[in-house]
Amino acid sequence: MNDTVTLAHGAGGKQTAELIDRVFRKHFQNRYFTSDDASVLPAPAGKMAMTTDGFIVSPAFFPGGNIGKLSVCGTVNDLTCMGAKPLYMTCAFVIEEGFSMEELEQIAASMEQTAAEAGVVLVAGDTKVAGKGQADGCFITTTGIGEILDGVSTSGRFAAPGDAVIVTGDIGRHGTAILLARDDYGIEADVKTDCAPLWNPIHALLREVPGVHVIRDATRGGVGTVLYEIAHEAGVGISLEREKIPVAEEVKGVTGMLGLEPLYLACEGTMVLFVPESLTDSALRVLREQSYTAGAAVIGRVTAENSGRVIMETEIGARTYLPEPGNELLPRIC
């Protein structure tokens, strides 16, 4: 078999079958993955959540992950935000002619591993090959279905004055890692993406603390963008304390040099939670016992005043607006 993907692999004939066997069937084997035109699945008992997401990250491989892991985490985490246990996923690949077969297999292997960790099954897939220059490397779209836990109901609209704003870990690592991986700035620093499937820790949290108001994945636009979205959706203000926001030293160093605000850099394994004040301590206790969320911290509160605004309390005790996100931040980070 060739060591790069060619247009023939997308033509639907023998070579397409070879590609599917070698790469996808090998890694996505499970009882629902068939040669038929669609998978036949048992329906969950409760309410379902469904989501879809496209991934075009450049470069496709970066410290701590690759586009395959990212594409599973993205959909798993979107379902997780609704309190939904991820059940089934599909994936559609658009691959540029000439893409390395070995890298494609690494991507598929990462997807297999990440899906297994999150307990989700890849039930169907599609492969298209685009001519050289008509796509860049490998693009993946994933779609997922999950079953919402009994008694859990989350939405940005539920944010209420008094709620604690929690981040599940230090922020801005994915955006920084991608920035460094592109090597546009000639800066050397050891920053790995935070990319991780968060169903397990959030499931543990929701079992003990089902009354969480909001769970939101802080991907494109980062935590700051998510907070502004929620402030608008719920018609509340959000007050943050600069000194409580966890940022890794390496990320601080890089963002300081480039004049970037970590609150606006993407996270792929860090979420923002809004939790009623009375539940804050137990939420933090559960999160800190789990992997991926051991660094959970309260960074601020919801207020009735300053509706639609995020206010920052600075290290000298003064208050300013957190600048509202705008313009192009970093393209192609997910």
């Binding site: 290290e315 000298i316 005790g317 003064a318 208050r319 300013t320 607006y321 600048p323 705008g326």
Partner: protein, 352 residues
């Protein structure tokens, strides 16, 4: 920590005569807003955002020159990101790029030179704006190009120096907050001379919250005592003599020229251009750029903002037609511009 708390309480409780303090550096402007420092000042202390953001003081004609190079000469424009969105008379580099002009963002002049070396078939022009802190890197880039025999790299200079600008601005303020990184290079002779013989007081400050509040507290305490003074509040980094090597490098490659400051006008001897022996690295000479006057949006009052004559909110365009997404003037484009800082961080008086 104690020192910072004491400085904060001095600034909160100051009850001396009204004092205007002009920060002349865009990085100071941005940090003062980001830290919310205006919000803790006594009502008798007025901060004025001066002309120290290189993007903000760069004239429209300069953008027109860059667009002309890209569109008429097919040059690859290498630039710091902020400049891309600054409106020219007709177009910005952003709109030119959308129509096919080659505009690339780089992080330093040396990166620009490296890009030129890797792309020998492109005519590369670096947009060399900035003050004493960045001018040495532009000189190093040209030096490297000479060393490496790179013939497709040149500078479009709009480098500026502060001394003449201090002189031109001195009636707009009672004292200057001098930028530490500029004086780390140029030394302290100019601010000392201004205090001793021109009745212009000032303090030199670093960039952290602690360094800024400390310097401001020193400034108002001395102002209340009366007389003219200069205090170096950033001695860790700023030495009397500065960095003579950097100054010598710039002097050996560049010479002063008159320069146009957006909204302020021509200031004699306030610009820097490459000396005759480096003429082939000077884009204006190399490409015979015609003189471009540049026109600004008639309603834009950036000029008065830069001179501290009005607050950004007093400009009729502010926050209405002029926003960071659709800037009419340069002060709204750059993250160091006064208008952008007001817009993004809010006016502390309106914050609940």
């Amino acid at each position: 920590m104690k020192q910072m708390e004491r400085a904060i309480s001095i600034l909160r409780e100051y009850s001396g005569p009204e004092v205007r303090i002009m920060e002349v550096c865009g990085t100071h402007t941005h940090e003062i807003f980001r830290q919310g420092i205006r919000g803790i000042l006594s009502p008798a202390i007025h901060m004025i955002s001066g002309p120290g953001c290189p993007v903000c003081v760069t004239g429209t004609g300069y953008i027109d020159e860059a667009v002309w190079l890209a569109e008429k000469k097919g040059c690859t424009i290498l630039t710091f990101g902020d400049l891309v969105r600054v409106p020219g008379s007709e177009e910005s580099l952003q709109t030119a790029r959308a129509k096919g002009a080659k505009v690339r963002t780089v992080y330093s002049p040396q990166d620009g030179e490296a890009y030129a070396a890797e792309h020998p078939d492109e005519e590369c022009v670096f947009l060399s704006v900035g003050f004493e802190t960045t001018t040495p890197s532009s000189c190093i880039a040209v030096k490297n190009a000479v060393r490496d025999g790179i013939g497709n790299f040149s500078l479009l200079t709009a480098n500026k120096t502060m001394p003449m600008a201090y002189e031109a601005m001195k009636d707009s303020t009672d004292l200057f907050l001098y930028p530490g990184h500029v004086h780390a290079i140029t030394g302290l002779s100019v601010p000392r001379m201004l205090a001793d013989t021109h009745q212009v007081s000032g303090v030199c400050a670093g960039f952290t919250a602690r360094e800024l509040v400390t310097a401001l507290a020193v400034a108002v305490t001395n102002f209340e005592k009366g007389g003219y003074f200069f205090v170096n509040c950033y001695p860790r980094v700023v030495r009397e003599e500065g960095q003579p090597e950097a100054v010598r490098l710039v002097d050996s490659m560049m010479e002063p020229c008159d320069d146009l400051w957006r909204g302020i006008g021509r200031i004699e001897g306030s610009g820097m251009k490459l000396r005759q022996e480096y003429a082939s690295y000077d884009a204006r000479i190399r490409y015979e750029i015609p003189f471009m006057q540049g026109r600004t949006n008639s309603g834009c009052r950036c000029g008065q903002v830069l001179q501290g004559r009005i607050e950004p909110g007093q400009c009729p365009l502010f926050g209405k037609v002029c926003t960071p997404e659709h800037p009419s003037g340069a002060c709204m484009v750059s993250s160091e511009g006064a208008c952008s800082a007001y817009y993004l961080y809010g006016d502390h008086q309106t914050l609940l």
